[in-house]
């Protein structure tokens, strides 16, 4: 239908201007490539890191255990039969011996024979010392088991666990390693009979700190970190956002606010351990809060996280276009309403990013906790944030410095747990952020 005019109008297009397209496209392609390259590099590093961590750590989630038919011998547990009157009796009984005897019997060693003392010591060495509390808990929970026989999976000792996982070089001379040849032989036997197996290491998540690798876990640290992150979130997000709002939206632009701004930026550069000093001075010495408590840890980390959140929030607030503000003011919104109804939601993605990064940093921080006594050995669960607790990175840090081989994989395992914790923590923020993201 337009053919007519087309055929009439068709002439050679006029010479095009040279606007350096080739060069500019090369630049464009380069630019784009840099972007892809940067992201790829970032992801590569992440994968490399994750790979090293996972490679070293996934084994920590399995723990060698031995399935033993344990006879809860009344003779051994409560020789004078006083448990009815003195419940403390059950707590102090010699449970270790029960497990040892059960295992010795399995391996065909006569417990009564004095000549077998050396062997019995080796047998004991197969079983974790933690068996004491394990069996005790069973008995205390249900004293009627006394006198019966039950199959119980008991933890193997840490060295046995390492050997079973192939982490100890069995080729080196026997004298130089912790696991003896006899023990290896028994281990093979037990494995073949299916009595020794690797089971999921739930203790890694539930146990508190311990000097024995096989009974040490992240339980206390998880609770401590949870408390601290809650405190940090509840305090630093509102305070940080409030401070940013004041500075960005309300404060007169003068020397004073410049001072505050510089100050906040500067706080971000203060080494984290200095915040520990501050926390020690202010919260413990001045305010009299208890040492090693996650409350103090949370407060210190809050102070440390604040600058990050404030800087991110201010940047996000600055980026909201002025027309939105005029629009709100124009319909008679007060500045407070303008900020809370319009500017803040639009700045939310940036604020959440700051929060994610700040919280992630707080979650991984050890140095400030050192001075307020949270880099510590804490075996009991904290009931409240006022009780002694540790934190995930602290536990990692402490395990990383342990001498025992079995702690090596646990260190990596702990890092994996920390990353999972981080991921769980960030997920909510990331979903929220996606909801708020909007282009105008």
């Amino acid at each position: 239908m337009t053919d007519l005019s087309l055929s009439e109008g068709k002439v050679a297009p006029r010479a095009r201007r040279d606007i350096g397209l080739r060069r500019r496209y090369a630049a464009e392609a380069r630019f784009r490539f840099y972007g892809i390259f940067a992201i790829a590099l970032g992801i590569f590093f992440l994968l490399a890191l994750l790979f090293t961590v996972f490679k070293g750590g996934y084994t920590a989630f399995w723990q060698t255990s031995i399935n033993l038919p344990i006879t809860f011998d009344a003779e051994t547990i409560d020789p004078d039969n006083k448990r009815a009157t003195d419940p403390g009796k059950l707590l102090t009984a010699n449970y270790t011996v029960l497990a040892r005897n059960a295992l010795a019997e399995k391996l065909g060693i006569d417990v009564e024979d004095k000549a077998n003392r050396a062997d019995l010591k080796l047998v004991s060495g197969l079983i974790s010392q933690g068996v004491r509390t394990q069996l005790r808990d069973i008995v205390v929970a249900d004293p009627s088991v006394i006198g019966t026989t039950r199959n119980v999976w008991v933890l193997a000792a840490a060295d046995v666990d390492s050997a079973h996982k192939g982490q100890i070089d069995l080729a080196v001379p026997e004298a130089r390693r912790k696991v003896k040849d006899q023990q290896v032989e028994w281990m093979n036997k037990l494995s073949q009979e299916g009595m020794m197996a690797e089971r999921f290491n739930s203790g890694l998540f539930t146990f508190g700190a311990s000097s024995r690798p096989e009974t040490s876990g992240m339980g206390v640290a998880l609770i401590g970190s949870l408390y601290m992150m809650l405190i940090v979130l509840v305090l630093s997000l509102p305070i940080g956002v409030a401070a940013s709002i004041y500075l960005e939206e309300f404060a007169p632009k003068n020397r004073m606010t410049d001072l505050i701004e510089v100050n906040i930026n500067n706080l971000a550069a203060v080494p984290s351990i200095v915040f520990g000093l501050l926390g020690l001075a202010v919260f413990i010495n001045f305010a009299g809060l208890p040492r090693s408590a996650s409350l103090v840890g949370g407060l210190v980390l809050t102070l440390m996280t604040l600058p990050t959140i404030i800087i991110a929030t201010r940047a996000a607030l600055k980026a909201v276009p002025p027309s939105i503000r005029s629009a709100a003011l124009g319909v008679g919104a007060s500045r407070m309403q303008m900020v809370f109804h319009h500017v803040l939601p639009l700045a939310a993605p940036g604020i959440l990013t700051g929060t994610i990064i700040g919280l992630a940093q707080a979650l991984g921080e050890t140095a400030p906790l050192l001075l307020i006594g949270m880099v510590a050995f804490v075996a009991n669960y904290p009931a409240t944030p006022m009780d002694p607790a540790t934190a995930l990175p602290v536990q990692i840090f402490m395990w990383a410095n342990e001498a025992e081989r079995a702690f090596v994989e646990r260190t990596s395992g702990a890092i994996i747990i920390l990353l999972l914790f981080l991921a769980a923590m960030n997920l909510a923020a990331i979903i929220l952020r996606r909801r708020f993201e909007r282009r105008w």
Binding site: A38, V320, I356, L419
Partner: protein, 489 residues
């Protein structure tokens, strides 16, 4: 009445005030030509705040002030000779008195009489009750402790009553003036503004706290080490004096540490900023929503990995890799040591990537579309648009992000310890080891050395110095940002 119960009561009064005020305001019938100035909710909120805020402030002030007051009163009642005795340490003595006060509460009357009479050893008596005393104590302390207890009890009682009365008064005040023209919203917003202002002063308080918590030790450090030795010394070797200088105090040269700090941070920034910025640009401009929504949080994981993991990564992987690589390149002798500025900078840079990328991405995305369209409409390529229009418009925010990144680089410890070591060298070769101020702060604080020695105290001097240096850098950064700021629309 514990503080918690008082608080609960106050909150309950506030809630009641809110409800009443709300109903009253909602029931107001403005005359013709008049409008309700503030909505009922604001009237309610105002009444609530009036009821709760002064009461809580009062309680807090009382709690803060009363111990000092009580202590003073008790102290003044102590025997003259104690007060004026040359070796009497007030705080120590009062500490005893308060501890005894604690213990007195747990004593039976008979025991108390004994204690007053001085016929028992206070320390043993109290130890049995679970109260620690540093020394055996003096008999005169017991009556003082009893007085102390009475006064504190009274203080708690009065403060509770006072607080509740104040809350009631506040509630009444908040409720009385309710009228059509009352500016409840303005009042509530003014209070909110104060709240916001208070939040921003936390930064100042933190700063003051930081300086104060390091100042005294710093001063005592400089009493034993001359300023010039610290600020201009080029050798860091706190345990050894320079051969021939004769002193035994050691050398506390800041220069090598400062150089190391800046150098490592610089390398880290050189690595993280381009990568982070390009990643941000790619996510904001080129990537599809899906890719962006995955890549961004994935990169953010980098910021959350504990630094000790980075340290181990540097120590076990990156350092040896760089060393072997440089050895292969140079054919034999490696020119990069396993522990070097480069290793530390590189690994720290990895950690910093998300600081740049995520924050910048948010800022870039916030630049209005119209800017973008305006540039594309002129025939600019996307990269030109990005470089020349969007980035300049986003600059203030990006500079903020970069500042944060640089700050983090300066404050990092663990990576440096493991990747660059603790040896304080002064060199310009990035292939060699250096160390940073923060590393030394941590080291000197956590070691086995005497805590009163300059070797430990230097940590505080380092902390304050670093603080001052970064402050200067931030002032400069602020100046730069002001100069180049572009405000859109």
């Amino acid at each position: 009445m514990s503080a918690a119960t008082v608080l609960l009561i106050v909150l309950a009064i506030g809630a009641a005030a809110f409800a009443v005020a709300y109903r009253r305001a909602a029931g107001l019938r403005p005359e013709a030509g008049q409008k309700l100035h503030s909505r009922a909710g604001y009237h309610g909120a105002y009444a609530f705040v009036m009821a709760v805020l002064p009461a809580i402030l009062f309680l807090a002030l009382w709690k803060a002030a009363s111990p000092a007051y009580v202590e003073n009163a008790v102290w003044n009642d102590l025997p003259e000779q104690v007060q004026t005795a040359p070796d009497s340490n007030k705080s120590l003595l009062m500490g005893m008195v308060t501890s005894i006060g604690d213990g007195v509460r747990r004593l039976s009357d008979a025991e108390l009489e004994q204690a007053k009479a001085g016929s028992v050893d206070l320390r043993e008596l109290f130890a049995a009750k679970g109260v620690a005393l540093a020394s055996s104590g003096e008999p005169y302390m017991v009556p003082a402790a009893v007085a102390y207890n009475e006064m504190t009890d009274a203080s708690v009682r009065y403060s509770g009553i006072g607080t509740i009365l104040l809350a009631l008064a506040g509630a009444v005040y908040g409720l009385t003036g309710i009228s059509v023209r009352r500016r409840a919203r303005n009042n509530v917003e003014r209070i909110m503004l104060w709240g916001l202002m208070a939040a921003s002063t936390i930064a100042i308080l933190t700063t003051i706290g930081i300086v104060l918590s390091m100042l005294f030790q710093t001063i005592s450090f400089f009493q034993s080490v001359p300023l010039s030795n610290f600020f201009f010394g080029t050798v860091w070797d706190p345990r050894f004096a320079a051969a021939g200088s004769g002193g035994t105090t050691g050398q506390f040269g800041l220069i090598p540490l400062l150089a190391g700090t800046l150098y490592i941070a610089l390398v880290a920034m050189l690595f993280a900023v381009p990568i982070g910025l390009f990643a941000a640009i790619y996510m904001a401009e080129y990537a599809s929503r899906r890719v962006r929504s995955i890549v961004k949080p994935v990169l953010e994981i980098l910021a959350g990995i504990p630094t000790i993991v980075y340290g181990i990564f540097a120590l076990a992987t990156v350092g040896p890799l760089l060393r072997d690589l440089s050895a292969a390149l140079a054919g034999g002798q490696p020119f990069i040591l396993a522990q070097s500025v480069l290793t530390a900078g590189l690994v720290m840079g990895i950690m910093l990537i998300p600081f740049v990328s995520s924050l910048s991405d948010d800022i870039i995305t916030a630049v209005p579309r119209a800017m973008h369209d305006g540039s594309l409409g002129l025939g600019a390529t996307r990269s030109e648009t990005m470089r020349r229009v969007i980035l300049p418009a986003a600059l203030p925010g990006i500079v903020g992000a970069l500042l944060l990144t640089a700050s983090r680089a300066i404050g990092e410890t663990m990576i440096v310890v493991l990747a660059a070591g603790v040896a304080a060298n002064l060199t310009i070769n990035p292939g060699e080891a250096m160390t940073t101020i923060t590393v030394k702060i941590v080291n000197q604080l956590t070691g086995d050395l005497e805590f009163t020695s300059p070797q430990t105290l230097v940590a505080f001097a380092l902390g304050i110095t670093l603080f001052a240096i970064t402050l200067a850098m931030n002032v400069f950064a602020l100046y730069i940002v002001r100069k180049y700021r572009e405000q859109y629309e």
